[in-house]
């Protein structure tokens, strides 16, 4: 409990740092929403008017204080462009991103961990080389190239999957999974590669430990040795990678959302950055950062499940 509370409190400075970084970054960037709202034919005067109505003329510090005050009241603000509450925009977009992330992770874990285990067990053999080779290769291609390739092969040519879009689970499982299959695979390959490599090297290290020798001296079968004795020990670094990989996963999700026209958080953020919709960017980054910190907190707590030496 003590530990949990301390970790939860530690989230606050992280978020404060995130808030400051994001705010400064955006306010220092050239360009502001007023010119975009004013449009092609606007005069300088028009732009100034709009800037004033948006409150962009106030000193940066004042804006920052105002924003923080808003946040503390639980209000993420409203979009400069759409006039929609940021919280509402995030709510609209969160489902696809959550699904993609979760399924990508599941996809990666389901394939990568066994691959890594087998590669480590068969270290130095062709199986190991094939797995390691695949992992390095998956690391070497941008997500969008993989995405285009999959679209070309499985949508345009084979017509198995739709090209773009997102269907909610409430629209039925089949449309849901058909729309997500390609984005998840294209985004998940890199993550899978990362995880497979990590699993392999962790397992290699665990397999070199004295207690594995003990287990072998007990006459255990390879299967039991790997799954009971080695994997549980390798779990902590693997879980850490899964947690830290969230950042990488999100980068991939942003690109896949663009390629597959999926209305998720990632695409919303990039769009908002490109058109300087400050409240939206700030809100999203704050929310994703919170999610990231919490996920890492959860992975930390998970360690306790795998490693009895860790006590909070």
């Amino acid at each position: 409990m003590n530990y949990l509370l301390r970790r939860l409190l530690a989230v606050i400075p992280v978020l404060a740092v995130v808030a400051v970084i994001v705010f400064l970054l955006l306010r220092l960037a050239p360009g502001d929403p007023a010119v975009i709202i004013a449009g092609d034919t606007a005069s300088a005067e028009d732009i100034e008017h709009i800037r004033q109505t948006l409150g962009l003329n106030r000193p940066v510090v004042e804006q920052f204080v105002g924003w923080i005050g808003q946040i503390l009241r639980g209000d993420l603000g409203t979009s400069v462009f759409t006039g929609m509450p940021v919280a509402e925009m995030i709510r609209q977009r969160v489902e696809p991103t959550l699904w993609i992330s979760a399924l990508t992770m599941a996809f990666a874990v389901v394939f990568a961990v066994p691959m890594g285990i087998i590669a480590a067990w068969k270290a130095g053999t062709w199986v190991d080389r094939a797995v390691s080779g695949l992992a390095v290769a998956a690391f070497s291609l941008p997500v969008f190239v993989i995405g285009y390739g999959l679209v070309y092969g499985f949508s345009t040519q084979l017509d198995w999957f739709p090209v773009q879009g997102f269907k909610s689970l409430s629209d039925g499982f089949v449309p849901f999974i058909r729309h997500l299959a390609l984005p998840v695979i294209s985004g998940g390959l890199i993550y899978m590669a990362l995880l497979a490599r990590m699993t392999r090297s962790t397992m290699l290290e665990v397999l070199a430990q004295d207690y594995i020798r003990t287990a072998r001296a007990k006459g255990l079968s390879s299967q039991r040795l790997l799954l009971r004795h080695a994997l549980k020990n390798a779990a902590v670094p693997i879980v850490t990678t899964i947690g830290l990989g969230i950042a990488m996963l999100l980068s991939g999700v942003i690109v896949t959302e663009s390629v597959f026209a999926i209305p998720g958080i990632g695409r919303l953020t990039v769009d908002s950055i490109l058109r300087r919709d400050y409240p939206v960017i700030q809100g999203i980054v704050l929310v994703t950062a919170t999610a990231y910190v919490l996920i890492n907190l959860i992975t930390d707590l998970l360690y306790g499940l795998f490693d009895p030496r860790i006590r909070y």
Partner: protein, 523 residues
Amino acid sequence: MRLPLPFRARPLAAAFFSLAALAAQAGFASTLHMIPQGDLKILDPIQNPSYITRNHGYMIYDTLFAQNAKGIIKPQMVDSWKVSADKKTWSFKLRDGLKWSDGTPVTAADCVASLKRWGARDVSGRLLFAAVGEIKASDAANFTIVLKSAFGPVLEMLGKPSSNVPFMMPERIAATDPNEQIKDTVGSGPFIFKRDEWVPGSKVVYIKNPNYVPRKEPADGLAGGKLVKVDRVEWNYIPDQNTALAAFKKGEMDIYELPPADFIPVLSADASIKLATDPLGDQGWLRPNHLAAPFDNPKARQALYYLVNQGEYMAAAGFPEAYRHKPCMAYFMCGSVNESFAGSAPYAGGKDIEKAKKLLQEAGYKGEKIVVLTPSEPPVQAAAAMVTVQNLKKAGVNVDAQAMDWSTLLARRAKKDGWHIFHTYSVGTDVFSPAVNAYAQANCEKAPSGWPCDAKLEQLRAAWVAEGDAAKRKKITDELQARMYEVVPYVNFGQFFQPMAYRTNLTGVLSVGVPVMWNIEKK
């Protein structure tokens, strides 16, 4: 030969997935899916002049007057109107039974408020309102405009087809500060905006407006009866053009509003796809900064004309021959009522780099850095910038091609220094007359970015709008254009036809330069 594994599995999986696909699509036969040109993010077509917001406006709002396919102004919400003999007093009567989408009746006071708001924001609206002495509603159905000075194209202004379109809104909404966004989307147009289904950046949903009262005449251009023949319209924004093309070709989408020029050959080759173009087309603009040396000197601006080969720009943007106008030296669009070639003679010889060099020298250019704002997108602007940069380099200019995203470009060009040239383009309906052409303004500070300043040009514009007689106006047009070729407010880098693509299971698609969704039937 052994097939690769995925292909062997094909029949079974295909059957499975196509069944599923059929089941999924069954319910939405009368939904139109359009890939819009951009992401609709601003709902106020008066505050914001972007085309996507204008298109949204046409979905949910109606206008007093509208242009038909021949460019003639026809009444739309207006039933009848009268002009006094001195052409100073205009009275209008609204059609009976017009209703807002919330069911309340449309009144003359609503229209007066809407016009006032528009007049505060729009280029031509401001021109008109500069001449207006009084505008008021006399009763629920009638209102009058009393001019204090002569103004010719009153109806042309009220029926202005493109940004900013004088859309009619309820008075309570039209009372909003013109610089502030309206929050309400009640209109009297053929569709209703489904706010609860709106996902900015992804999806905009409209349904048929049951309170809409269409005119009896058939649809003609933007005028005539706006009969809605589908239940629902969805704009599905797809940021990635390659994905958009694939989705459209597969039939996941019905209309592709603005396919990049490069896709035209692919789309024309597909029998299940048709392309529709606005006959007037679009015009590309190279805008120099009139406040920054050497372009504060007209000779330097003229030099730019000697660097422009319109065909080159059009090719770079990727338009096939059939979608480019032949090189056209009419500032107010070839093919429009205001087409003129006055003053273009000096440039008839086409691209002449030596001449451009000479003019630049005469303008006092000594090798300073010339900043060209180079966006990564949209494609036409990006390609044009690349061509200009290359041509300037050939003319010995020290070019600084500054790369940036479009938002940065907008911000950069809003500042009076730090840049020399940017590119953009406009649809013909925003170009075709001195009254609507924003970049033809030369009123110094008040003009959009570039800030041309020429008293004579302004005089001619004022004369043009004050002139009620078409023939006399034509004369002023010639004079005005000749002056434009002398002072060069902007360089016209080409006229082209940006098509809209739609699948052949649609009928009744109107080619009006605006993707209007009425009159379309989906089979």
